[in-house]
Symmetry: C2
DNA sequence: GTGATGTAAACTGTTAACAGTTGACAACTC
DNA sequence: GAGTTGTCAACTGTTAACAGTTTACATCAC
Protein backbone atom coordinates (compact mmCIF):
# COMPACT_ATOMS: atom_id res chain seq x y z
CA UNK A 1 0.00 0.00 0.00
CA UNK A 2 2.66 2.46 1.02
CA UNK A 3 4.70 1.15 -1.85
CA UNK A 4 1.84 1.74 -4.25
CA UNK A 5 1.49 5.33 -3.13
CA UNK A 6 5.19 5.82 -3.52
CA UNK A 7 5.08 4.32 -6.96
CA UNK A 8 2.49 6.83 -8.07
CA UNK A 9 4.88 9.59 -7.20
CA UNK A 10 8.11 7.82 -8.05
CA UNK A 11 9.89 10.07 -10.50
CA UNK A 12 11.58 8.95 -13.66
CA UNK A 13 15.24 9.60 -14.30
CA UNK A 14 14.61 12.80 -16.27
CA UNK A 15 13.08 14.41 -13.19
CA UNK A 16 15.93 13.31 -10.96
CA UNK A 17 18.49 14.69 -13.40
CA UNK A 18 16.48 17.88 -13.81
CA UNK A 19 16.40 18.55 -10.08
CA UNK A 20 20.10 17.81 -9.80
CA UNK A 21 20.88 20.18 -12.67
CA UNK A 22 18.75 22.91 -11.12
CA UNK A 23 20.71 22.43 -7.91
CA UNK A 24 24.07 22.57 -9.65
CA UNK A 25 23.09 25.68 -11.58
CA UNK A 26 21.37 27.69 -8.84
CA UNK A 27 24.15 26.89 -6.39
CA UNK A 28 26.67 28.27 -8.82
CA UNK A 29 28.55 24.99 -9.12
CA UNK A 30 27.87 25.15 -12.84
CA UNK A 31 28.67 28.70 -13.84
CA UNK A 32 26.79 30.69 -16.51
CA UNK A 33 27.90 29.75 -20.01
CA UNK A 34 29.29 26.39 -18.96
CA UNK A 35 28.81 23.72 -21.58
CA UNK A 36 26.95 20.65 -20.39
CA UNK A 37 28.82 17.53 -21.47
CA UNK A 38 26.09 14.94 -21.91
CA UNK A 39 28.35 11.89 -21.70
CA UNK A 40 30.16 13.20 -18.67
CA UNK A 41 26.97 14.16 -16.85
CA UNK A 42 25.33 10.85 -17.72
CA UNK A 43 28.26 8.86 -16.35
CA UNK A 44 28.44 11.01 -13.25
CA UNK A 45 24.74 10.48 -12.51
CA UNK A 46 24.75 6.86 -13.54
CA UNK A 47 22.22 7.20 -16.33
CA UNK A 48 22.31 7.29 -20.11
CA UNK A 49 22.25 10.40 -22.28
CA UNK A 50 18.51 10.27 -22.96
CA UNK A 51 17.30 11.45 -19.55
CA UNK A 52 20.13 14.01 -19.41
CA UNK A 53 19.03 15.52 -22.69
CA UNK A 54 15.39 15.56 -21.63
CA UNK A 55 16.27 17.30 -18.38
CA UNK A 56 18.39 19.87 -20.20
CA UNK A 57 15.54 20.49 -22.66
CA UNK A 58 13.09 21.09 -19.85
CA UNK A 59 15.50 23.55 -18.28
CA UNK A 60 15.69 25.26 -21.65
CA UNK A 61 11.95 25.80 -21.41
CA UNK A 62 12.48 27.18 -17.91
CA UNK A 63 15.16 29.50 -19.21
CA UNK A 64 17.96 27.99 -17.14
CA UNK A 65 19.82 26.55 -20.12
CA UNK A 66 20.20 27.35 -23.79
CA UNK A 67 21.07 25.05 -26.66
CA UNK A 68 22.86 25.46 -29.94
CA UNK A 69 22.35 22.79 -32.61
CA UNK A 70 25.28 20.39 -32.81
CA UNK A 71 27.06 22.23 -29.99
CA UNK A 72 24.89 21.13 -27.12
CA UNK A 73 23.47 22.69 -23.99
CA UNK A 74 24.90 25.57 -22.00
CA UNK A 75 24.03 26.99 -18.60
CA UNK A 76 22.09 30.17 -19.34
CA UNK A 77 24.32 33.19 -19.61
CA UNK A 78 23.07 36.74 -19.31
CA UNK A 79 24.33 39.90 -20.94
CA UNK A 80 24.43 43.07 -18.87
CA UNK A 81 21.28 44.23 -20.64
CA UNK A 82 19.47 41.03 -19.76
CA UNK A 83 20.51 41.28 -16.14
CA UNK A 84 19.16 44.81 -16.00
CA UNK A 85 15.90 43.55 -17.49
CA UNK A 86 15.53 40.95 -14.76
CA UNK A 87 16.00 43.53 -12.04
CA UNK A 88 13.61 45.89 -13.80
CA UNK A 89 10.85 43.30 -13.75
CA UNK A 90 11.43 42.23 -10.17
CA UNK A 91 9.73 45.25 -8.54
CA UNK A 92 6.65 44.75 -10.72
CA UNK A 93 6.27 41.15 -9.69
CA UNK A 94 6.62 42.12 -6.07
CA UNK A 95 4.17 44.94 -6.54
CA UNK A 96 1.56 42.55 -7.87
CA UNK A 97 2.40 40.21 -5.03
CA UNK A 98 1.86 42.67 -2.21
CA UNK A 99 -1.01 44.58 -3.78
CA UNK A 100 -3.33 41.83 -4.86
CA UNK A 101 -2.16 38.46 -3.69
CA UNK A 102 -1.04 38.63 -0.08
CA UNK A 103 -2.64 39.69 3.16
CA UNK A 104 -0.84 41.46 5.94
CA UNK A 105 -1.06 38.31 8.02
CA UNK A 106 0.62 36.41 5.17
CA UNK A 107 3.40 38.96 5.37
CA UNK A 108 3.73 38.34 9.08
CA UNK A 109 3.97 34.62 8.46
CA UNK A 110 6.71 35.16 5.89
CA UNK A 111 8.59 37.36 8.30
CA UNK A 112 8.39 34.57 10.85
CA UNK A 113 9.65 32.03 8.33
CA UNK A 114 12.54 34.30 7.55
CA UNK A 115 13.52 34.55 11.20
CA UNK A 116 14.57 30.88 11.10
CA UNK A 117 16.97 31.59 8.26
CA UNK A 118 19.42 33.43 10.48
CA UNK A 119 21.12 30.26 11.59
CA UNK A 120 22.30 29.48 8.08
CA UNK A 121 23.58 32.92 7.24
CA UNK A 122 27.17 31.91 7.83
CA UNK A 123 27.24 28.57 6.08
CA UNK A 124 28.80 28.03 2.65
CA UNK A 125 27.40 29.77 -0.40
CA UNK A 126 25.98 26.65 -2.10
CA UNK A 127 24.26 25.62 1.14
CA UNK A 128 22.97 29.15 1.50
CA UNK A 129 21.52 29.16 -2.00
CA UNK A 130 19.84 25.83 -1.43
CA UNK A 131 18.36 26.80 1.93
CA UNK A 132 17.29 30.30 0.92
CA UNK A 133 15.54 28.89 -2.13
CA UNK A 134 13.63 26.53 0.15
CA UNK A 135 12.66 29.39 2.43
CA UNK A 136 11.57 31.43 -0.53
CA UNK A 137 9.43 28.58 -1.75
CA UNK A 138 7.82 28.38 1.68
CA UNK A 139 7.11 32.10 1.53
CA UNK A 140 5.72 31.83 -1.99
CA UNK A 141 3.32 29.18 -0.67
CA UNK A 142 1.47 32.09 0.90
CA UNK A 143 0.91 33.87 -2.39
CA UNK A 144 -2.73 33.54 -3.40
CA UNK A 145 -1.91 33.03 -7.06
CA UNK A 146 0.13 29.99 -8.06
CA UNK A 147 0.97 31.36 -11.49
CA UNK A 148 2.46 34.55 -10.10
CA UNK A 149 4.34 32.57 -7.44
CA UNK A 150 5.81 30.42 -10.21
CA UNK A 151 6.94 33.52 -12.07
CA UNK A 152 8.58 34.84 -8.92
CA UNK A 153 10.36 31.56 -8.29
CA UNK A 154 11.57 31.53 -11.86
CA UNK A 155 12.93 35.04 -11.37
CA UNK A 156 14.69 34.05 -8.14
CA UNK A 157 16.38 31.14 -9.86
CA UNK A 158 17.73 33.48 -12.50
CA UNK A 159 19.02 35.78 -9.80
CA UNK A 160 21.01 32.91 -8.36
CA UNK A 161 22.60 32.38 -11.76
CA UNK A 162 23.58 36.01 -12.23
CA UNK A 163 24.75 36.25 -8.62
CA UNK A 164 28.32 35.78 -9.77
CA UNK A 165 27.92 38.51 -12.38
CA UNK A 166 26.59 41.41 -10.30
CA UNK A 167 28.22 43.20 -7.43
CA UNK A 168 31.32 41.08 -7.19
CA UNK A 169 31.55 41.03 -3.43
CA UNK A 170 32.36 38.21 -1.05
CA UNK A 171 29.80 35.54 -0.33
CA UNK A 172 29.25 36.35 3.33
CA UNK A 173 28.41 39.96 2.62
CA UNK A 174 26.13 38.97 -0.24
CA UNK A 175 24.26 36.50 1.93
CA UNK A 176 23.84 39.04 4.72
CA UNK A 177 22.53 41.65 2.33
CA UNK A 178 20.00 39.29 0.74
CA UNK A 179 18.57 38.24 4.06
CA UNK A 180 18.40 41.79 5.37
CA UNK A 181 16.53 42.98 2.32
CA UNK A 182 14.07 40.15 2.66
CA UNK A 183 13.56 41.01 6.31
CA UNK A 184 13.00 44.70 5.55
CA UNK A 185 10.57 43.82 2.81
CA UNK A 186 8.37 41.55 4.87
CA UNK A 187 8.55 43.79 7.91
CA UNK A 188 7.40 46.79 5.90
CA UNK A 189 4.48 44.81 4.55
CA UNK A 190 3.57 43.35 7.93
CA UNK A 191 3.52 46.93 9.20
CA UNK A 192 0.85 47.75 6.61
CA UNK A 193 3.14 49.77 4.41
CA UNK A 194 3.07 48.18 0.92
CA UNK A 195 4.56 51.26 -0.74
CA UNK A 196 7.60 51.06 1.50
CA UNK A 197 7.96 47.37 0.70
CA UNK A 198 7.98 48.15 -3.02
CA UNK A 199 10.50 50.92 -2.52
CA UNK A 200 12.76 48.46 -0.75
CA UNK A 201 12.66 46.11 -3.71
CA UNK A 202 13.36 48.95 -6.14
CA UNK A 203 16.31 50.12 -4.09
CA UNK A 204 17.55 46.55 -3.93
CA UNK A 205 17.46 46.28 -7.72
CA UNK A 206 19.50 49.44 -8.01
CA UNK A 207 22.00 48.15 -5.46
CA UNK A 208 22.76 44.93 -7.28
CA UNK A 209 23.07 46.69 -10.62
CA UNK A 210 25.61 49.13 -9.27
CA UNK A 211 28.52 47.50 -11.11
CA UNK A 212 26.65 47.39 -14.40
CA UNK A 213 26.87 50.48 -16.57
CA UNK A 214 23.40 52.01 -16.85
CA UNK A 215 21.62 51.72 -20.15
CA UNK A 216 21.50 54.93 -22.06
CA UNK A 217 17.72 54.86 -22.08
CA UNK A 218 15.79 51.62 -21.91
CA UNK A 219 12.64 53.41 -22.95
CA UNK A 220 11.68 57.01 -23.07
CA UNK A 221 9.50 57.63 -20.10
CA UNK A 222 5.93 57.65 -21.39
CA UNK A 223 5.20 60.58 -19.13
CA UNK A 224 7.92 62.58 -20.81
CA UNK A 225 6.56 61.55 -24.19
CA UNK A 226 3.48 63.68 -23.77
CA UNK A 227 2.81 66.08 -26.59
CA UNK B 1 28.67 30.64 -47.74
CA UNK B 2 24.92 31.05 -47.64
CA UNK B 3 24.71 27.39 -46.87
CA UNK B 4 27.14 27.82 -43.99
CA UNK B 5 25.03 30.57 -42.49
CA UNK B 6 21.96 28.43 -42.87
CA UNK B 7 23.72 25.55 -41.26
CA UNK B 8 24.52 27.62 -38.21
CA UNK B 9 20.84 28.21 -37.75
CA UNK B 10 19.57 24.91 -39.07
CA UNK B 11 17.41 23.52 -36.31
CA UNK B 12 17.50 19.99 -35.05
CA UNK B 13 14.42 17.79 -35.04
CA UNK B 14 13.52 18.60 -31.44
CA UNK B 15 13.03 22.24 -32.37
CA UNK B 16 10.93 21.40 -35.40
CA UNK B 17 8.73 19.11 -33.34
CA UNK B 18 8.52 21.69 -30.55
CA UNK B 19 7.31 24.40 -32.91
CA UNK B 20 4.82 22.04 -34.46
CA UNK B 21 3.50 21.03 -31.03
CA UNK B 22 3.20 24.66 -29.99
CA UNK B 23 1.21 25.26 -33.14
CA UNK B 24 -1.09 22.30 -32.57
CA UNK B 25 -1.68 23.32 -28.96
CA UNK B 26 -2.17 27.06 -29.36
CA UNK B 27 -4.43 26.54 -32.35
CA UNK B 28 -6.62 24.31 -30.26
CA UNK B 29 -6.12 21.31 -32.52
CA UNK B 30 -4.78 19.48 -29.49
CA UNK B 31 -7.24 20.26 -26.72
CA UNK B 32 -6.31 20.74 -23.04
CA UNK B 33 -5.80 17.44 -21.26
CA UNK B 34 -5.18 15.50 -24.46
CA UNK B 35 -2.63 12.76 -24.08
CA UNK B 36 0.32 12.95 -26.43
CA UNK B 37 0.94 9.55 -28.00
CA UNK B 38 4.68 9.51 -28.64
CA UNK B 39 4.65 6.74 -31.22
CA UNK B 40 1.77 8.25 -33.09
CA UNK B 41 3.26 11.76 -33.10
CA UNK B 42 6.65 10.43 -34.13
CA UNK B 43 5.20 8.55 -37.10
CA UNK B 44 3.08 11.51 -38.11
CA UNK B 45 6.09 13.84 -38.10
CA UNK B 46 8.45 11.29 -39.61
CA UNK B 47 10.88 11.21 -36.69
CA UNK B 48 11.66 8.85 -33.86
CA UNK B 49 10.42 9.16 -30.29
CA UNK B 50 13.55 10.84 -28.95
CA UNK B 51 12.98 14.27 -30.48
CA UNK B 52 9.28 14.06 -29.67
CA UNK B 53 10.04 13.44 -26.00
CA UNK B 54 12.59 16.25 -25.92
CA UNK B 55 10.11 18.65 -27.47
CA UNK B 56 7.40 17.64 -25.01
CA UNK B 57 9.86 18.11 -22.13
CA UNK B 58 10.74 21.59 -23.26
CA UNK B 59 7.06 22.43 -23.48
CA UNK B 60 6.72 21.13 -19.94
CA UNK B 61 9.25 23.74 -18.90
CA UNK B 62 7.22 26.34 -20.78
CA UNK B 63 4.08 25.21 -19.00
CA UNK B 64 2.29 24.06 -22.14
CA UNK B 65 2.38 20.37 -21.27
CA UNK B 66 2.49 18.28 -18.11
CA UNK B 67 3.83 14.79 -17.61
CA UNK B 68 2.96 11.91 -15.34
CA UNK B 69 5.57 9.17 -14.90
CA UNK B 70 4.74 6.07 -16.93
CA UNK B 71 1.61 7.72 -18.31
CA UNK B 72 3.24 10.21 -20.62
CA UNK B 73 2.70 13.81 -21.64
CA UNK B 74 -0.56 15.73 -21.68
CA UNK B 75 -1.50 19.09 -23.12
CA UNK B 76 -1.67 21.45 -20.13
CA UNK B 77 -5.09 21.57 -18.58
CA UNK B 78 -6.27 24.35 -16.32
CA UNK B 79 -8.71 24.27 -13.45
CA UNK B 80 -11.12 27.17 -13.04
CA UNK B 81 -8.92 28.54 -10.26
CA UNK B 82 -5.85 28.44 -12.49
CA UNK B 83 -7.67 30.22 -15.30
CA UNK B 84 -8.70 32.94 -12.87
CA UNK B 85 -5.08 33.26 -11.79
CA UNK B 86 -3.91 33.80 -15.35
CA UNK B 87 -6.44 36.56 -15.90
CA UNK B 88 -5.52 38.10 -12.55
CA UNK B 89 -1.87 38.37 -13.54
CA UNK B 90 -2.54 39.70 -17.04
CA UNK B 91 -3.36 43.29 -15.97
CA UNK B 92 -0.17 43.46 -13.93
CA UNK B 93 1.99 42.43 -16.84
CA UNK B 94 0.31 44.99 -19.03
CA UNK B 95 0.69 47.60 -16.34
CA UNK B 96 4.42 47.03 -16.21
CA UNK B 97 4.46 47.07 -20.00
CA UNK B 98 2.77 50.42 -20.45
CA UNK B 99 4.26 52.13 -17.41
CA UNK B 100 7.93 51.34 -17.76
CA UNK B 101 8.70 49.62 -21.01
CA UNK B 102 6.87 51.30 -23.87
CA UNK B 103 6.72 54.79 -25.27
CA UNK B 104 3.64 56.41 -26.68
CA UNK B 105 5.15 56.16 -30.14
CA UNK B 106 5.62 52.42 -29.56
CA UNK B 107 1.92 52.29 -28.80
CA UNK B 108 1.15 54.06 -32.04
CA UNK B 109 3.28 51.56 -33.93
CA UNK B 110 1.43 48.67 -32.32
CA UNK B 111 -1.87 50.25 -33.20
CA UNK B 112 -0.70 50.45 -36.80
CA UNK B 113 0.39 46.82 -36.78
CA UNK B 114 -3.01 45.86 -35.47
CA UNK B 115 -4.77 47.67 -38.28
CA UNK B 116 -3.44 45.05 -40.70
CA UNK B 117 -5.08 42.28 -38.69
CA UNK B 118 -8.56 43.22 -39.80
CA UNK B 119 -8.32 41.22 -42.98
CA UNK B 120 -7.95 37.96 -41.12
CA UNK B 121 -10.76 38.51 -38.65
CA UNK B 122 -13.09 36.25 -40.56
CA UNK B 123 -10.79 33.35 -41.35
CA UNK B 124 -10.88 30.04 -39.49
CA UNK B 125 -10.08 29.90 -35.80
CA UNK B 126 -6.74 28.04 -36.13
CA UNK B 127 -5.58 30.49 -38.80
CA UNK B 128 -6.71 33.33 -36.59
CA UNK B 129 -4.76 32.01 -33.61
CA UNK B 130 -1.65 31.61 -35.71
CA UNK B 131 -1.87 35.03 -37.28
CA UNK B 132 -2.83 36.88 -34.10
CA UNK B 133 0.09 35.27 -32.29
CA UNK B 134 2.40 36.53 -35.01
CA UNK B 135 0.96 40.02 -34.71
CA UNK B 136 1.32 39.91 -30.96
CA UNK B 137 4.94 38.88 -31.32
CA UNK B 138 5.50 41.83 -33.64
CA UNK B 139 3.95 44.11 -31.05
CA UNK B 140 6.00 42.61 -28.26
CA UNK B 141 9.08 43.42 -30.29
CA UNK B 142 8.48 47.02 -29.25
CA UNK B 143 8.65 46.24 -25.53
CA UNK B 144 11.93 47.53 -24.14
CA UNK B 145 12.45 44.52 -21.92
CA UNK B 146 12.86 41.12 -23.53
CA UNK B 147 12.23 39.24 -20.32
CA UNK B 148 8.88 40.90 -19.73
CA UNK B 149 7.95 40.41 -23.38
CA UNK B 150 8.70 36.71 -23.01
CA UNK B 151 6.46 36.53 -19.95
CA UNK B 152 3.67 38.23 -21.86
CA UNK B 153 4.03 35.84 -24.80
CA UNK B 154 3.94 32.90 -22.43
CA UNK B 155 0.73 34.27 -20.95
CA UNK B 156 -0.82 34.74 -24.38
CA UNK B 157 -0.04 31.15 -25.30
CA UNK B 158 -1.84 29.96 -22.20
CA UNK B 159 -4.82 32.10 -23.09
CA UNK B 160 -5.04 30.31 -26.42
CA UNK B 161 -5.15 27.02 -24.57
CA UNK B 162 -7.90 28.08 -22.21
CA UNK B 163 -9.82 29.75 -25.01
CA UNK B 164 -12.05 26.72 -25.28
CA UNK B 165 -12.72 26.78 -21.55
CA UNK B 166 -13.85 30.36 -20.99
CA UNK B 167 -16.84 32.15 -22.39
CA UNK B 168 -18.09 29.37 -24.62
CA UNK B 169 -19.15 31.55 -27.51
CA UNK B 170 -18.70 31.06 -31.22
CA UNK B 171 -15.31 31.59 -32.82
CA UNK B 172 -16.24 34.58 -34.94
CA UNK B 173 -17.51 36.55 -31.96
CA UNK B 174 -14.47 35.59 -29.92
CA UNK B 175 -12.08 36.73 -32.64
CA UNK B 176 -13.91 40.02 -33.05
CA UNK B 177 -13.84 40.68 -29.33
CA UNK B 178 -10.12 39.92 -29.01
CA UNK B 179 -9.18 42.27 -31.82
CA UNK B 180 -11.41 45.04 -30.55
CA UNK B 181 -9.92 44.86 -27.09
CA UNK B 182 -6.44 45.03 -28.53
CA UNK B 183 -7.42 48.03 -30.59
CA UNK B 184 -8.96 49.83 -27.60
CA UNK B 185 -5.89 49.09 -25.53
CA UNK B 186 -3.34 50.45 -27.97
CA UNK B 187 -5.51 53.40 -28.90
CA UNK B 188 -5.88 54.40 -25.26
CA UNK B 189 -2.13 54.24 -24.80
CA UNK B 190 -1.37 56.08 -28.00
CA UNK B 191 -3.72 58.76 -26.73
CA UNK B 192 -1.49 59.16 -23.66
CA UNK B 193 -3.93 57.51 -21.30
CA UNK B 194 -2.14 54.56 -19.68
CA UNK B 195 -4.69 54.28 -16.85
CA UNK B 196 -7.46 53.80 -19.37
CA UNK B 197 -5.40 51.14 -21.16
CA UNK B 198 -4.99 49.24 -17.89
CA UNK B 199 -8.68 49.55 -17.14
CA UNK B 200 -9.44 48.03 -20.51
CA UNK B 201 -7.28 45.01 -19.73
CA UNK B 202 -8.89 44.61 -16.33
CA UNK B 203 -12.37 44.78 -17.81
CA UNK B 204 -11.30 42.26 -20.46
CA UNK B 205 -10.18 39.83 -17.77
CA UNK B 206 -13.53 40.13 -16.05
CA UNK B 207 -15.34 39.58 -19.35
CA UNK B 208 -13.63 36.30 -20.18
CA UNK B 209 -14.10 34.98 -16.66
CA UNK B 210 -17.82 35.62 -16.74
CA UNK B 211 -18.70 31.94 -17.07
CA UNK B 212 -16.41 30.92 -14.23
CA UNK B 213 -17.86 31.06 -10.73
CA UNK B 214 -15.97 33.71 -8.76
CA UNK B 215 -13.61 32.53 -6.08
CA UNK B 216 -14.97 33.07 -2.60
CA UNK B 217 -11.99 35.25 -1.75
CA UNK B 218 -8.65 34.79 -3.40
CA UNK B 219 -7.00 36.95 -0.80
CA UNK B 220 -8.31 39.34 1.76
CA UNK B 221 -7.67 42.78 0.46
CA UNK B 222 -4.60 44.06 2.29
CA UNK B 223 -6.28 47.41 2.59
CA UNK B 224 -9.14 45.79 4.46
CA UNK B 225 -6.66 44.00 6.67
CA UNK B 226 -5.62 47.20 8.35
CA UNK B 227 -5.77 47.12 12.12
C1' DG C 1 57.17 31.86 -37.83
C1' DT C 2 52.56 32.04 -40.14
C1' DG C 3 48.85 30.18 -42.24
C1' DA C 4 46.51 26.40 -44.61
C1' DT C 5 45.37 21.56 -44.69
C1' DG C 6 44.53 17.03 -43.08
C1' DT C 7 43.31 13.85 -39.39
C1' DA C 8 41.62 11.83 -35.26
C1' DA C 9 39.21 12.23 -30.97
C1' DA C 10 35.22 13.93 -28.69
C1' DC C 11 30.75 15.14 -28.80
C1' DT C 12 25.92 15.74 -30.35
C1' DG C 13 21.65 14.11 -33.00
C1' DT C 14 18.95 10.38 -33.95
C1' DT C 15 17.32 5.88 -34.21
C1' DA C 16 15.98 1.25 -32.96
C1' DA C 17 15.41 -2.17 -29.59
C1' DC C 18 14.42 -3.94 -25.02
C1' DA C 19 12.32 -3.89 -20.41
C1' DG C 20 8.72 -2.71 -17.53
C1' DT C 21 4.19 -0.60 -16.69
C1' DT C 22 -0.50 0.51 -17.60
C1' DG C 23 -5.14 -0.17 -19.16
C1' DA C 24 -8.68 -2.84 -21.31
C1' DC C 25 -11.04 -6.88 -21.68
C1' DA C 26 -12.15 -11.61 -21.30
C1' DA C 27 -12.57 -15.54 -18.23
C1' DC C 28 -13.63 -17.10 -13.92
C1' DT C 29 -15.59 -17.32 -9.11
C1' DC C 30 -19.13 -16.65 -5.92
C1' DG D 1 -24.81 -9.93 -11.90
C1' DA D 2 -20.83 -8.12 -9.19
C1' DG D 3 -16.35 -8.51 -8.30
C1' DT D 4 -11.83 -10.69 -8.95
C1' DT D 5 -8.11 -12.53 -11.57
C1' DG D 6 -5.42 -13.38 -15.71
C1' DT D 7 -3.84 -11.99 -20.13
C1' DC D 8 -2.42 -9.24 -23.90
C1' DA D 9 -1.78 -5.16 -26.60
C1' DA D 10 -0.22 -0.53 -26.35
C1' DC D 11 2.67 2.63 -24.47
C1' DT D 12 6.43 4.79 -21.80
C1' DG D 13 11.33 4.75 -19.83
C1' DT D 14 15.81 3.78 -20.83
C1' DT D 15 19.75 2.24 -23.08
C1' DA D 16 23.18 1.39 -26.59
C1' DA D 17 24.81 2.06 -31.08
C1' DC D 18 25.52 4.57 -35.34
C1' DA D 19 26.04 8.69 -38.23
C1' DG D 20 27.47 13.23 -38.76
C1' DT D 21 29.63 17.43 -36.94
C1' DT D 22 32.82 20.05 -34.41
C1' DT D 23 37.18 20.91 -32.22
C1' DA D 24 41.90 20.44 -31.37
C1' DC D 25 46.13 19.39 -32.93
C1' DA D 26 49.70 17.95 -35.82
C1' DT D 27 51.60 18.32 -40.35
C1' DC D 28 52.95 20.69 -44.25
C1' DA D 29 53.85 24.61 -47.52
C1' DC D 30 55.57 29.09 -47.93
Amino acid sequence: MYKAVQKLKSPNLSEVVRDELIRLITQGILQPGTRLNEVHLAEQLGVSRGPVREAARELEGLGLTTSRPRLGFYVADFTDAEIVELYEVSPWIHQALVHDFMTYSDAETCGAILRDVDSIATSSVPDFSETLLQFRQRMLDHVHNRYLAEQALSLYRRFYIVAALVRAEDGARRMKRIIETQRFFWTALAERDPSKAIEIMQADSRYWLQDIPPRFSHADDPRKGRT
